[in-house]
């Protein structure tokens, strides 16, 4: 029985990873028609180096993700601290307001952003994508930091105060050092959320200014080429590496 369960789990893992591995293998296949057996080659990766559109999109993706990380990380950590330290009227409402960016399908959020930004003159482009990505990443940052804060003993702060520390010193030398792993996890997570975000970026992109997922989508719709396999392989490998980084500091799904 236990063996059967393990085999089943193995099959599910095959289902989850096989398509990605096939795609990766094809990105190293010299044949444009994906002929088998695979004749190994790096030609599609070499082609990428000459594809200025994809390179520009890649730079945009990284820049947007870095800005998102800094802003969402800072604002989210501050909000999580407030939720942890203070009881106040409207707290419940503020916590409920974290759900729309996570729970509403991104298609709805994305189209709403498009028409609102267009209407108010904020416009589309990189700044609009940062606006959107930060909003999406904020709830995740707050949740991850709050999870870390749950393990924090407020008596530590009280002890520091009674020893004469100013409120700023308490935060600087007691709270933040304890929080650091949570903040790092949240920041990596925010980076991943932004780097992998497609829907919001798709609606806020303007021709010539887009991100990697948007460029990949546009290329797929024009017709598959092995070059898309190559860039997609790079994207998914970096994305998974980032998430493994997150798991060093944060446990998905609670206790194990």
């Amino acid at each position: 029985m236990a063996a059967a369960g393990r085999i089943y789990l193995g099959l599910v893992l095959v289902f989850l990873y096989a398509p990605i591995l096939v795609m990766a293998a094809m990105s190293f296949n010299d044949s444009q028609l994906y002929a088998l057996p695979v004749k190994w080659s790096l030609r599609w990766y070499a082609d990428l180096a000459g594809n200025q559109r994809l390179i520009d999109a890649g730079i945009n993706s990284i820049v947007i993700a870095m800005i998102t990380t800094v802003i969402a990380g800072t604002l989210g950590t501050a909000a999580a601290l407030a939720f942890f330290r203070y009881e106040f009227r409207g707290k419940r409402l503020l916590q409920i307001l974290l759900f729309p960016p996570i729970a509403i399908p991104w298609l709805i959020t994305g189209t709403a952003m498009l028409l609102f930004f267009f209407w108010t003159g904020i416009g589309r482009g990189l700044h609009a994508m940062v606006l959107g990505h930060v909003a999406l990443a904020l709830p995740y940052v707050i949740i991850v930091v709050a999870a870390r804060l749950k393990a924090f003993d407020p008596d530590l702060e009280a002890a520091a105060r009674s020893l004469g520390a100013s409120p700023w010193q308490v935060v600087r030398y007691v709270t933040l050092p304890f929080l650091a792993p949570g903040v790092v996890a949240a920041a990596l997570f925010a980076f991943a959320v932004s780097f992998d975000q497609f829907v919001i970026s798709y609606f806020l992109a303007v021709p010539g200014v887009s991100t990697l997922p948007v460029e990949i989508y546009t290329s797929i719709r024009k017709g598959f080429t092995p070059e898309i396999n190559a860039i997609s392989t790079i994207v998914i490998v970096s994305s998974m590496a980032l998430l493994i980084g997150v798991t060093r500091f944060y446990r998905f799904g609670g206790d194990r």
Binding site: A2, Y8, L9, P19, F88, L94, L115, F198, G253, R256
Partner: protein
């Protein structure tokens, strides 16, 4: 700013709590308001206009967009099609994911469990677009799947799975399966092993234990997983476009069209809003179970 009267400020805090709360939460919530809440309100407003009030045009208030929706059976059909897709994907995720969560939670222990759990969860948070795209490499005509089948049964012919409804379902199940495994795992883990042992020692059969004990106790996790899968699936458009081709028309792709191809923003807004209403009804219906699962 008013001085706070809440008692929870505690002794020894130099600043008034209200001021600190506003300073700490203010920036995050101003951001969320500008980037999410106001846009949703604006979309609601646009859905009552004759045309989008941009580039100098003036939209007048009307119910025409909603009438358009009600008068054309086309849109209702598409919404139903999307709801059916959501239910199908959630069902298959349960079918595949529940046993997997059970194995993880009850039969595998220690470091192995940790590692396997991560292997299951990591793809979910990684790039969704690329994962859907990777299926085209497997499903396309003369792709890996057809060749493997042809290898086992020579001359089996082509499956023709690419650009069909099943292809969309496969891609979406692949995208959201880890979600179901995660929520089921959490609720399965909370079940005391002694309880199962007790039932067994009292002579309950395996199937009886599953039906009378495990499934009911895991129900909050199953429902939470189903809802959290159903909702994004009914709003999906990229997956049907890539894997469904001509057969990939759903309410999501029609909404996308209104914004990126047809440029009928008020109709797009109305359709988005109707979809949002469906989402809210689902959340409201399942709120008690979701709360228990959280």
């Amino acid at each position: 700013m008013a001085v706070s009267t809440t008692a929870s400020g505690g002794a020894g805090r130099a600043n008034s709590p209200t001021r600190a709360v506003v300073l700490l939460t203010g920036p995050a919530y101003v951001w969320l308001t500008i980037a999410v809440l106001l846009p949703l309100l604006a979309m609601f407003y646009f859905s009552f206009l004759t045309e989008a009030p941009i580039a100098g045009r003036v939209g007048e208030l009307t119910l025409e967009q909603y009438r358009e929706f009600l008068e054309h059976g086309f849109y209702t059909t598409l919404i139903l099609r999307s709801l059916k897709l959501g239910a199908t994907v959630a069902f298959f995720c349960f079918l595949l994911g529940f046993p997997c969560a059970y194995v993880l939670a009850k039969t595998i222990k220690g470091r192995w469990r940790e590692a396997l759990f991560l292997l299951v969860i990591i793809p979910f948070w990684s790039n969704a677009l690329v994962r859907v795209f990777s299926w085209t490499m497997v499903l396309r005509g003369n792709g890996l799947l057809e060749r493997s089948i042809d290898f086992v049964i020579p001359g089996a012919g082509s499956l023709g799975l690419m650009f069909t409804y099943p292809a969309v379902v496969i891609g979406l199940v692949h995208s959201y399966l880890p979600y179901m495994i995660l929520t089921c795992y959490i609720s399965l883990q909370a079940i005391d092993d002694d309880l199962i042992e007790a039932a067994r020692s009292l002579g309950a059969k395996r199937l009886t234990i599953l039906r009378r004990l495990i499934l009911p106790l895991a129900m909050p996790g199953i429902v939470a997983g189903a809802v959290l899968i159903f909702v994004p699936v009914i709003g999906s458009f990229m997956e049907p476009r890539i894997l469904g081709g001509r057969h990939g028309t759903f309410i999501g792709t029609i909404i996308e069209d209104q914004f990126t191809a047809v440029f009928n923003w008020p109709l797009g807004a109305a359709l988005s809003f109707i979809l949002l209403a469906c989402v809210l009804v689902i959340f409201a219906l399942f709120a008690p179970v979701l709360k228990r699962a959280a």
